[in-house]
Amino acid sequence: MKFVVPEEREAEERAWAVVSAAYAEREPVAWPRRHWQPLVAVAVVAAVVAAALSPPGRSVVRSVRKAVGIETAEQALFSLPTRGQLLVSSRSGLWLVRPDGSKRRLGRYRDATFSPHGLFVAATRANQLVALDPKGAVRWTLARPAPRFPAWTGTRTDTRIAYLSGGRLRIVAGDGTGDHVVARAAAVAPAWQPGPERVLAYAEGRSAVVYNTDRGTVLLRTPPIPEPVRKVAWSRDGERLLVFAPHATRVYRNGKVVEQDDPSDATLDTDAAFAGRRGHVAAIRFAGVSSNVFWIGGGPVLFSGTGVFRQLAPSPDGRWVLVTWPTANQWVFVRTRRRKIVAVARIAQQFGRRARVEDWCCA
C-alpha cells in the first residue's frame, strides 16, 4: 500500500516549524552521557571482588582465566615477530624490549616515546619531562607540572618533542631547549604528521586540531563529534588523520571524512589504529562479554576473543598489530595479511600490572 496524503509536504513543513521550535526551547537534562559507566564499573568491580574472595569464587576465577586466552600462547616474550623495539609502561615502570625479546627496565616513568630514529626515549614522571638513552641514562630533564604524552618528531639533526602540561600543549627542542606553549589541549596524546613540515594533531574537547608549528597556523579543526576525542593518529604516509572516541570514530583526508564508525550504545570501541601495509583503520569493538578486532572500512575480522581487548599497537612496518588482552593476561600479535597469530602469556608477570605499549619503533 503506497500512497501520499494530500498536502503531505506542506503538513511536514508546518509541523517542522512547531517541532523545531520546541526542540530549540528544550533544556537537556544535565546528566553526563556516560555517567552510568563509573557506576557500572564500580558495581562490576565490587561483584568481582566479592566473588573472588569466597573459595568457590576463587575457583571460578581460576577456571575463567584458564578458559580465556590462547591455549598455545608462549609463556614469555621470546622475540618480536618483526623488526623494531617496544616501549612498555606498567605499574612497575618503563621497559624497553628489543627484537630478540631481551628487555631493560628504564626506570619509574609514566608515558614514553622513542625519538624519530629510536636512538633516545622521552618519558614523563611526576613533574619532569626526561630524555633518556636506551640504557636508561638521563640526558636532560625539564621541570614542568604533571607532564604527559610526549611525542617526538624530526630529523637526525633537528627534532621537537610535543607534550602536555597543565592543560596546555607545549613543544620543546630535542635537546631540551626552547620550551614553549602552543595551545590549550585536552589530555590526549598529540600526534606529529609524518612528512617534511612540523605539523601536529591534538585534541580539543570533541574536536581535533591540526596545527603547523613552524607557521603557527591552524590547518584544520574537525567538526565536533558527540563525545570527547580520546586519540588522534596519522597514517604512515601522513595523508589521513584518525580521530577516535569510543562511540564515534572519524578518518579525515584533506579535511573530509573518508571513513567513520559509530558503534551502538550496546557496544563500544576501546581503541583504533592505522594498521596493515595499506594503512587501513583497525578497531577493537567490545560487545557484551567479547571483543573483536575489525577493519572499519569492512573486511574480515582480524581477531576475536572473550573479555576486553584494551589496545592496538601497529608494528612500524604495518604488517603486524599487537592486541593487548588484559582479561587473558596475554598479548596477541596478529599479522594483518595472510593472517597469523602469535600469542604471549603471563604479561603481568613479565612487565607488571597494567602493561601498556607506549611505542613500537623503528623499522
Binding site: 500500500m1 500512497f3 501520499v4 496524503v5 494530500p6 498536502e7 503531505e8 503538513a11 511536514e12 508546518r14 509541523a15 517542522w16 512547531v18 517541532v19 523545531s20 520546541a22 526542540y23 530549540a24 528544550r26 537537556p28 537534562v29 546528566w31 552521557r33 558527540p226 562511540h247 564515534a248 559509530d262 551502538s264 550504545d265 550496546a266
Partner: protein, 169 residues
C-alpha cells in the same frame, strides 16, 4: 526515507547532545510514515497532521530519557497509532460523519476504493492493518507496540482483511 539503524542511533545521540541538524534528520526520516499511518487510521488529513505533530512533540519532551538501544521508529509509531485510535474512537462517540474523502484525483481508482473501505473499519482494525501493511511491522512487533496479545493482533488482522475483501468484492 528512514535512515539505517546506525544512522538513526547516531541522529538520536547527537540530537540528545543538542544537534538541531541531527534532530531534523530524525524528523524528516520519520515524518512521512508517521503522518501517513495517522491518516490511514483517522482518515482526516488535519487530524493526522495534529496527531503526528503531537507525537514528535512528545518525542522532544522524552528525548533525554530515550533509550538509544531501542529503535526510534517503533516508539514513535506506537504513539502515533495509539493517539490515532483514541482520536478515531472519540470521533465515533461524537457521531461525526465519515471523514471527508480527500484522496487525490490522480490516485488510482482502486487505491481510492481500498482507502475508503479501510476508513470504514473500526480504528482498532485499521491500526493493525496500517502497521502491518504500510509500516511493515510483523504481528509480533505490532503486539509489542500496541501492548496487545499476539493472538488479538492476528485476529484483528484477519477480521480486518476479511472485511476489506468482502467490501471490495
Amino acid at each position: 526515507m528512514a535512515g539505517t539503524g546506525r544512522d538513526e542511533r547516531a541522529w538520536v545521540r547527537r540530537a540528545q547532545a543538542g544537534s538541531a541538524s541531527d534532530f531534523e534528520a530524525l524528523f524528516r526520516a520519520h515524518w512521512g510514515p508517521a503522518y501517513r499511518a495517522a491518516y490511514l487510521v483517522v482518515r482526516d488529513a488535519a487530524a493526522a497532521e495534529d496527531i503526528a505533530q503531537e507525537a514528535f512533540l512528545a518525542a522532544v519532551r522524552a528525548l533525554d530519557r530515550f533509550d538509544r538501544r531501542r529503535p526510534f521508529g517503533p516508539w514513535l509509531h506506537r504513539i502515533v497509532v495509539n493517539r490515532a485510535i483514541d482520536w478515531a474512537r472519540a470521533r465515533a462517540l461524537r457521531a461525526e460523519g465519515e471523514a471527508v474523502d480527500v484522496a487525490a484525483p490522480e490516485q488510482r481508482e482502486r487505491d481510492d476504493e481500498l482507502l475508503r473501505e479501510l476508513g470504514r473499519l473500526s480504528p482498532e482494525h485499521r491500526a493493525v492493518i496500517v502497521l502491518r501493511y504500510l509500516l511493515d511491522y510483523t504481528p509480533g512487533e505490532i503486539a509489542e507496540l500496541l501492548e496487545l496479545p499476539r493472538g488479538t493482533v492476528n485476529s484483528r488482522l484477519r477480521r480486518g482483511l476479511d472485511a476489506l475483501k468482502e467490501r471490495l468484492e
